[in-house]
Amino acid sequence: MKWKIGEHRPDRRRLLRLLGRAFVYAGTALFSVGLMGRRGLAAAIPALAGTGYDWTKHRWGFGIDATRCIGCLRCVEACKTENGVSRDAHHFRTWVERYVYLKGEKAPRIDSQADPGNIAASGSETEYRFDNRYRDAKVEKAFFVPKLCNQCEHPPCVQVCPVGATFRTPDGVVLIDHDYCIGCQYCVQACPYGARSFNPKHEVTDKCTWCYHRITRGLKPACVEACPVDARIFGDQNDPESPISRFIRENRVQVLQPAMGTSPNVFYVGIEKEVV
């Protein structure tokens, strides 16, 4: 030791000065990288220009009218087919839950198409149907609720991704780049709605895209196309006459778990507080 504590040391000051300068440089560099990241947000996607689709012009939104849903699960079937989701009872981009309030019971009984009883009723894991288990029960109230990704304004799943494999597009859809996904499943944990699932075969996470390949072509998402009772509503929130704008305007809508601060873009009508 050449020096003692408390002794004047010019070296230390130099080091501090150096570190200070390094901080400034690094800060500037990070800032410019950040700027680079922002650049182009206002531009249309060049690769999609051919289709005339401009993602800065749309703000998609989704509505669920649970008072209409008949629980036929044709939306789940359509989604699996349209998006090539694994044909089993564990991976869903969209699903339907059944809430049944029996007389004298406080909490509802909840099941979905993935429930063993319902799989037995459908005959196989690749087909979907609700069984009639409450046929003879004393049912006070019952309803079906379709669920899917809420495409949050502030998606926690995007925040936690360590590799930039998931992101929110300017037209309001949270997508996954399966090339970059490393399958760490942080996002599965982060989603408060259970909307993401892990595909062990390809070791990547999967989620609903509102059928991004369809909506960018001017089609409706497959689940909306298949719904026979208009329980699913889709459209552009920028257009005041779109089905979704009407739906939001003409109903008292709610979103799931508003306290999470995620600002979902799926709006529900006709659900109970137990639906989260």
């Binding site: 050449k2 070296d11 130099r14 080091l15 150096l18 990241g37 182009g40 947000l41 996607i45 690769a47 999609l48 849903c69 008949i70 629980g71 036929c72 699960l73 044709r74 359509a78 087919t81 349209e82 998006n83 090539g84 989701v85 694994s86 044909r87 089993d88 609700f130 009639n132 409450y134 046929r135 029960a137 019952a142 309803f143 079906f144 930039g164 998931t166 300017p170 997508l175 780049d177 399966h178 090339d179 970059y180 595909n199 075969k201 390809h202 990547v204 999967d206 895209t209 991004y212 390949h213 369809r214 960018t216 072509r217 089609l219 497959a222 196309e225 298949a226 026979p228 009772v229 208009d230």
Partner: protein, 356 residues
């Protein structure tokens, strides 16, 4: 030592050097390996968006079917099922029609980009639903939680185990005629008796016909009688004799006549054919029981009883359904499959049954 005093300590220099090398490697790696489109729109690979958007849609929509299946499409558009898209029942139509057989494509193996796609089934040949009970009950089985606006049935008692498409056209399932006939004014049997004088010559004074080809009316279902008269009147069921008779009847007349005849006591016409023929008919009649009753007496006021009707009339009626001279979606489907011999057997059986 003053020299080294003014320089940075060596371990710090080493540390900074390691940082600098690490940084340089990271920078080179970034230039070499990072996708060019990374950061174009945000902190992600910009090209991913276009790749995801490039997927081909599987569901083509009903408009796609119109060009080739125009008749089916028109029928569907006019019916109540136009809310159920074709592909919900027939499967996604991407690549249909094509000569190739259905194949299962694992996109992960086909594409350079890792695609999450377990099995994406391409229905090149579209399915004709084999089990309509399974299909239709997805939406129509009576179940707690289904909104009342959705028409639902008790499957066990409604269809009696039969396929739904025996009675319902899947593309336009509403059974209009039979359903509409059920309603109608109650009618006054006493007033009907007076008006029935004009009919006695052919149908008998008390509605029991003596002519082998003209049907008895006594004891027939009230809703069916009213419906039949309305159909003669409107021309939906043309008949040289009855069309003229029904033309002058008001709706009130029809209600009264239906009330009179349905309350009148019937008398079976009986069969002149052999008992053997009738017992062969009994075996065939199992298919008819769900609508016309196990003993030929219908439980539905809109559907006719057959027990004790004239044998020759029954034969003519079934042949009329076969030829299309008499139109009814349910009977047309059922009569289509009957041979001449079977028609004779069924007619012999029903004519010989006791009416109520």
């Amino acid at each position: 030592m003053a020299d080294s005093e003014s320089r940075m300590p060596r371990h710090i220099v080493r540390l900074l050097l390691i940082f600098a090398i690490g940084g340089a490697i990271a920078l080179i790696a970034r230039i070499l390996f990072q996708d060019k489109s990374y950061g174009r729109y945000g902190i992600y690979r910009g090209d991913a968006v276009a790749e995801i958007a490039a997927d081909e849609p599987m569901y083509q929509g009903p408009g796609y079917c119109q060009s080739c299946h125009a008749e089916r499409h028109a029928e569907w558009t006019a019916g109540i099922h136009k809310v159920v898209v074709c592909e919900t029942c027939h499967g996604a139509a991407a690549k249909h029609p094509s000569a190739k057989a259905a194949v299962t494509v694992d996109l992960a193996g086909k594409s350079t980009r890792v695609r999450i796609a377990g099995e994406r089934l391409e229905h090149i040949k579209l399915a004709i639903p084999a089990d309509s009970v399974k299909l239709c009950t997805l939406c129509h089985e009576k179940m707690p939680g289904r909104p009342a606006a959705q028409k639902q049935i008790e499957v066990s008692s409604h269809a009696g185990g039969q396929q739904c498409i025996v009675c319902h056209n899947p593309h336009s399932p509403k059974i209009g005629a039979a359903g509409a006939q059920k309603a109608g004014k109650p009618g006054d049997a006493a007033a009907g008796r007076k008006k029935a004088a004009a009919c006695a010559a052919c149908h008998g004074a008390e509605g029991v016909s003596g002519n082998p080809e003209w049907p008895s009316l006594a004891g027939q279902q009230r809703g069916y009688l009213a419906g039949a008269l309305l159909a003669y009147k409107s021309g939906a069921r043309p008949d040289p004799m009855m069309s003229a008779q029904a033309k002058g009847l008001s709706e009130a007349d029809i209600g009264d006549l239906a009330a009179f005849y349905s309350d009148a006591s019937c008398k079976a016409a009986g069969s002149k054919s052999s008992a053997q023929l009738a017992s062969a008919g009994k075996a065939k009649a199992a298919a008819c029981a769900s609508c016309h009753g196990a003993e030929g007496v219908s439980g539905n006021p809109a559907w006719p009883s057959l027990a004790g009707l004239q044998e020759a009339y029954l034969v003519n009626a079934l042949k009329a359904y076969q030829s299309g001279a008499r139109r009814n979606p349910m009977m047309a489907g059922l009569a289509k499959g009957l041979s001449e011999a079977e028609i004779g057997q069924l007619a012999a059986y029903y004519a010989g049954l006791k009416c109520k």
